[in-house]
Amino acid sequence: MDFTFSREAKALRRMVRTFVEKEVAPIAAEIDREHRVPMEVMRKLGEIGLLGVCFPQEYGGMGAGEEGYCILMEELGRACTSTATNVGAHIGIGAMAIHLDGTDEQKRKYLTPLARGEQFAAFGLTESNAGSDAANISTRAVRDGDNWVVNGGKVYITNGGYADVVTLMAVTDPALGARGGVTAFIVQSDWTGFEVAREEDKMGIRGTSTAELVFDDLRVPHENVLGKVGEGFVTFMKSLDMGRLTLGAACLGGAQAALDWSVEWAKTREQFGTQLAQKQSIQWMIADIATELEALRSLVYRVAWMVDTGQPFTELAAMCKLYGSEVASRAVDLAVQIHGGLGYSRDYPIERAFRDARIAEIFEGTNEIQRIVIASRIFREHGVRISP
């Protein structure tokens, strides 16, 4: 066992950290306040190759694997959950589906500009009547010669308001349901019949776009079917596995930031004549955050290594997401407590981190769904099938 990061990984982390310190951290408060997606940051991330971090170099990527991708998300998560979310939705689920199941031609046409940040991607799964219950979608695609005609809508689509490319899941055979009746498509937002209906006004991650999309006779060429007709559900589940792992990495960054702020504050703040750091109540909080953080770090990078070495990891990715989001929430909660009034003030990043952290327990499959995924894997080994 070797738990040291490679030189390459260290160099990548240094590159990302420098970028984040210069370009992301300084605008984190502003994009939250102004409810704005930092497109300039997204473009710059693309220019220097980071939006292709885990994609092959032949398609404009870096080829740094899941390990590299987790490093990117951890460092982004330390400074700005909104930016981490934009990047995660773009790489981790939007473009990931094309990376996993696209043809060479589709990768050339779509993945390459996505990896370079010339275009942006979103992942179209959730509907008003199907969120965590992903198999119950109702957006319909009907074959018409060389085309498919899509009708329906999606909600809570991260990056939906500005994505150029959406990997979309639609029902192609209602009789077959999730297994065989659902197909993934690559659609372009500039096609007739694609409409952004509204943007959500959210509690946190306010520097992101969460949109409702409506498809009205959206004609999709057959060549834009992603994977095989009827196997969309598999494609999407594989993408979500990746997304859950890297969401865990972003949570790791968020929790690390909460710890860093808290330690710094405990050093600085004095009450009753001694610094907070001397008080056992504070020490325990710090020790608890730090311990959970290290456990999460080990989990995240071990799973990244499993992905990069081709091992199955579905339930472990669910654990990354479940545990990561809970650790991050606990860490920011304790950070608010340690900071007292300052932690509740809008002038300081803790309050934003507190609002931002909550979403991680909800999106990419609620934590309840993650528990079902984990439990069903465990019981399956014991011959018990669980129905959600």
Binding site: R7, A11, L12, T18, I48, Q57, M62, G63
Partner: protein, 263 residues
């Protein structure tokens, strides 16, 4: 046009604490930066390359085997790298470094421009560039805030008292660059991965030279010798300045002057 850029590393000051009372230096986190001046110099070289084409070669060396600095240079966009190592390297001072670099230039069959940081972040020494210019017998421009090639000559903006002037000299030349002059670009992601993996032709981009092959042993003997460390006196907070307004102002002005000397 071949531009040689010298890259040196420096311990990140954020990771060290100089404890005045204990009179000890604590290294809490051993991480290295590229000397800001050298980093800025590489950016200057890459801008010349962007504008008119040039072959940018970075040179670096450490006593222990660690070619991280040259890898950083390559990842930023340098075309080639020379990594100097070997036993004779330990304790090399700027005089030795100048001789080594002179030998590097010779072995490369010449260069048109050498760019190097003006001052080191840690020791504030500014002698490597001028010493190398002296060794090569080339003209030098010290403290160039921007560098360009115009009609086969190097042109730079340099401070002159409170003004900035444009100066020019013939190639080949040595130009030193202040750390704040140019913001270094980010490395290219894919290139960075290839550099560290030695893939995509980047493995061959690094020439590894032993200093023993470049200089006779006597050339490697440094003149500068380290004789220990000293620490400023402990800080005494809360000293009251008393007196008339004028006296107080004088005392404060005096203290400020003492703190700001040379700045």
């Amino acid at each position: 046009m071949r531009i040689l850029v010298i890259l040196r590393r420096v311990l990140d000051p954020a990771g060290i604490v100089a404890h005045r009372r204990l009179r000890r230096l604590f290294i809490n986190r051993e991480e290295y930066l590229i000397q800001p001046g050298d980093h800025s110099a590489l950016e200057a070289a890459l801008r010349i390359k962007d504008l008119g084409g040039a072959e940018v070669v970075v040179v670096s060396g450490q006593p222990e085997p660690d070619d991280d600095t040259v890898c950083r240079g390559l990842a930023m966009g340098a075309d080639g790298a020379i990594y100097l190592s070997g036993e004779g390297f330990a304790g090399a001072d700027d005089g030795v470094a100048a001789r080594l670099l002179q030998a590097v230039v010779d072995r490369l069959g010449g260069a048109d421009l050498v760019l190097v940081g003006m001052t080191t972040l840690d020791t504030a020494q500014a002698q490597l560039g001028p010493r190398l210019a002296g060794a090569l017998g080339w003209p030098q421009i010290v403290g160039a805030w921007s560098v360009e090639i115009v009609d086969g000559r190097v042109r730079a903006v340099r401070r002159d008292g409170d003004d900035y002037v444009v100066v020019e000299t013939d190639l080949p030349a040595v130009v030193t660059v202040p750390g704040r002059a140019l913001e270094p670009r980010y490395p290219d992601g894919a290139r960075l991965v290839n550099v560290y993996r030695g893939e995509g032709g980047m493995g061959e981009a690094v020439l590894r030279w032993d200093v023993a092959d470049l200089l006779h042993p006597e050339g490697l003997v440094p003149l500068l010798e380290n004789r220990g460390r000293d620490f400023p006196p402990e800080r005494e907070l809360g000293v009251r300045v008393e007196g008339t307004t004028e006296e107080v102002a004088q005392a404060v002005a005096e203290a400020l002057r003492a703190r700001l000397r040379g700045a």
